[in-house]
Amino acid sequence: MSLSRFAQIFPPERLLTSAAHLSAYESDALTAFHSRPVAVVVPESGDEVIAAVRLCRELGMPFVARGSGTSLSGGSLPVAGGIVIALNRLNRILKLDATERIAVVEPGVVNTQVTLAAQPFGLHYAPDPSSQTICTIGGNVAFNSGGAHCLKYGMTSNHVLGIKAVLATGEVVEFGGESRESIGPDYTGLFVGSEGLFGIALEITLQLLPRAECFHTVLAGYRTLEEAGDAVSAVVASGLLPGALEIMDALAIQAAEAAVQSGYPRGCEAVLIVELEGPREKVAAERPALDALLAASKPIESRVAANAAERAKIWKGRKSAFSAVGRLSPDFIVQDGVVPRQRLGEALRRISEMSREAGIRVANVFHAGDGNLHPLILYDGRESGALERAEELAGRILKMCVAMGGSLTGEHGIGVEKRAYLPDMFSADEIALMHRIRAAFDPLGIANPGKMFPGGDAPALVQHGLHPLEKSGVISRE
């Protein structure tokens, strides 16, 4: 049987086939979906990944690359009858060149490790998803992950200079390189965001940026979400370019406060986090303008982080929001739609109407500067039909985002979860082109099949419960 062929590549302790082992890989962070793979292989070198992919190709066997399994859209959900290629042991930083300001890393390197390695040189890796202490660069590349600083610094793709990958055809390619510029079509740019459908990234060249010298972080609490939204519009209109512009609503504040006690102002319907950053002279020159317009926006309370510890505390509340919401509700799904920034107020009003109509609580945390919403839809999977109702509400929110001229996803990817909605955003001809592109990289359709594109088998749903890695104690939500 085919597993014996894998046993020629992987020793028994890195070829997992027992139910106990496999159950830890059945889901990603979209815990409502689960699927058991035939086996999990745990390569320790790029050559082992290449050998595994080439064997899959020979056998016509599906494979799913997996970093830390924190995907919120079912991207790393295993495929029935296929294998999972777990990349966590490919976690070496192969090169850190402070002169060129680049790092070359293996895909299993955790996001924050790059910044930790770069810090002694005054550099950092800009993309900072809230999951950054767990998620891997390989997963970030596959999803073009974002974070709180995208308006000014862009998403993962804006920081990836080169990729060495094994494609589903077995071909090993090197796209881009160490220069920040390239000639010819941007293959690196195409690979980033391909959701594991092209092959597996083996080495990734990242650009590093100098760490900003100075931050001016303001936390402002408002009576209504609309007032917070107006403050964002005022900041945008002022000609300032903040490093971050984030909003949380009352339910999200309540959850974050219960979880990490960031000391967010009480009695607010919304908090806004605005951050200026740069050389101290520049921050000093821009600060009065920001302070004045925030004062004019009439917050209940506004607070400036006096030092690095206070800044960290403000950000901790924001970054723990998703996991904190777990305290309010046994289960939740996170949506990730984008709307034109000026329609944020309207979008939030409609989400709150839909939430009331459906009788389902929705907490909102969002990247206000980008128009990127994160409605957290709370449900209790033990109630019959609750998951389906939550998913229906999620679908209505997504369709609203697209109808407003936005996108289904700003940073979490389509995955399994949103694949049925792809035709709401793209025409049949456009999806056909994407299929042809996919087929160029993967003619057999073995790399992460059943993701991104509508159709295909529906994975099993579990109504309730913790992430399998949480159950097994590998990760926790805080």
Partner: protein
């Protein structure tokens, strides 16, 4: 040369021709140099800004829109394209700039054209109208086709409309010149400046000096300037107009050879050595891309051999008659399959 005025007409031309190449203003003549059997499609009548809402930090324009019009429209609202697209005054179009994959000095701070393009409308090799990306500042749905088409030189699709992210334009600018004896010294200065606290907006090297630019509020620049002069005692302030000539590539005449060569700081000295040995001039943007030039296009073959020797590659933008690609070439099976995915009948491109 055909000059369609609607997207449907462009589609008809594609379908009824053996081979086509879309061109803008042909400011990069080598990129629109084609054999006789190729029909040129001028995009100049598909021009104009379609949508622009300053509050969204985005605009959408037809591919044939001159950069000049875009830059002026954004400036009137206090916004700009931070990557400094080249050849604004020379008449370049936004579509040609995307297809050629060109950014200027400002790419150093926030990234190049690829980092600001959000969405495209284009026609594939069958003349089918398609879109990629989304007209919002953040999007992760579907494959990133807009990025892929950057630098595709008209051979994967005919762009008809493009959407970009823009930034507020900083109120003031200040430029310093730091004299350098050679590329090694220049690379050291760039490395120091690029990882420091100053947040330089551009760091170019023209063969004898670094041109370093700061942007921001005037009050901040006045204070930062004092520190820059402390750290680089040989530096002196120069007039900001120096960037106008760089933007228009005035270092070489329009019919000379001009080759774009992606590079790194470590390869900088080797590149300088081969160019100097061949009496070629060069200008380097952000330590990451060199523009090598010579008035005589016949230098093309000599340059090619030299680049192969130091494992660099290049693209000829202007040397009409000279070779198109230089140096090390990269071939992959997937590139050929991708070409078929966009253009099954091989109709697009020179």
């Amino acid at each position: 040369m055909k000059t369609p005025s609607t997207v449907a007409e462009v589609a008809d031309i594609i379908r009824s021709s053996k081979k086509v190449l879309a061109v803008g203003a042909q400011t990069k003549p080598r990129l629109s140099q084609v054999p006789d059997e190729v029909t040129l499609i001028s995009m100049r009548n598909l021009s104009g800004i379609v949508e622009y809402d300053p509050g969204e930090f985005t605009f959408t324009a037809f591919a044939g829109t001159p950069l000049r019009e875009i830059v002026a429209t954004l400036a009137a609202q206090g916004q700009y394209l931070p990557f400094d697209p080249p050849l604004v005054e020379s008449g370049a179009t936004i579509g040609g700039t995307v297809a050629a994959g060109l950014s200027g000095p400002g790419r150093f701070r926030y990234g190049g054209l690829r980092d600001f393009i959000l969405a495209v409308r284009f026609l594939d090799g069958n003349g089918t109208q398609l879109r990629g990306g989304a007209k919002v500042v953040k999007n992760a749905a579907g494959f990133d086709i807009p990025k892929f088409l950057v630098g595709s030189l008209g051979s994967f699709g005919v762009l008809t409309e493009v959407t970009f992210k823009v930034f507020p334009r900083p109120p003031a600018m200040m430029t310093f010149a730091i004299p350098c004896a050679n590329a090694a010294e220049a690379a050291a200065h760039i490395a120091k400046a690029a990882s420091g606290r100053w947040a330089f907006d551009a760091l170019d090297y023209d063969g004898s000096r670094i041109l370093a630019r700061l942007r921001g509020p005037q009050a901040a620049l006045d204070l930062l300037a004092a520190d820059v002069l402390d750290c680089w005692p040989a530096a002196e302030g120069v007039d900001n107009v120096v960037w106008d000539g760089i933007r228009e590539w005035q270092f070489v005449g329009a019919d000379g050879l001009l080759v774009k060569i992606p590079v790194t700081l470590r390869k900088f000295p080797a590149l300088e050595a081969i160019l100097q040995a061949r009496n070629m001039g060069f200008h380097v943007v952000g330590g990451s891309v060199a523009y090598a030039y010579h008035p005589n296009v016949s230098y093309s073959d000599i340059l090619n051999e030299a680049l192969v020797g130091i494992s660099l590659s290049g693209l000829n933008l202007r040397g009409f008659g000279g070779r198109l690609y230089f140096g090390e070439s990269h071939h992959s099976a997937v590139a050929k399959s991708l070409k078929l995915a966009f253009d099954p009948c091989h109709r697009l491109g020179a």
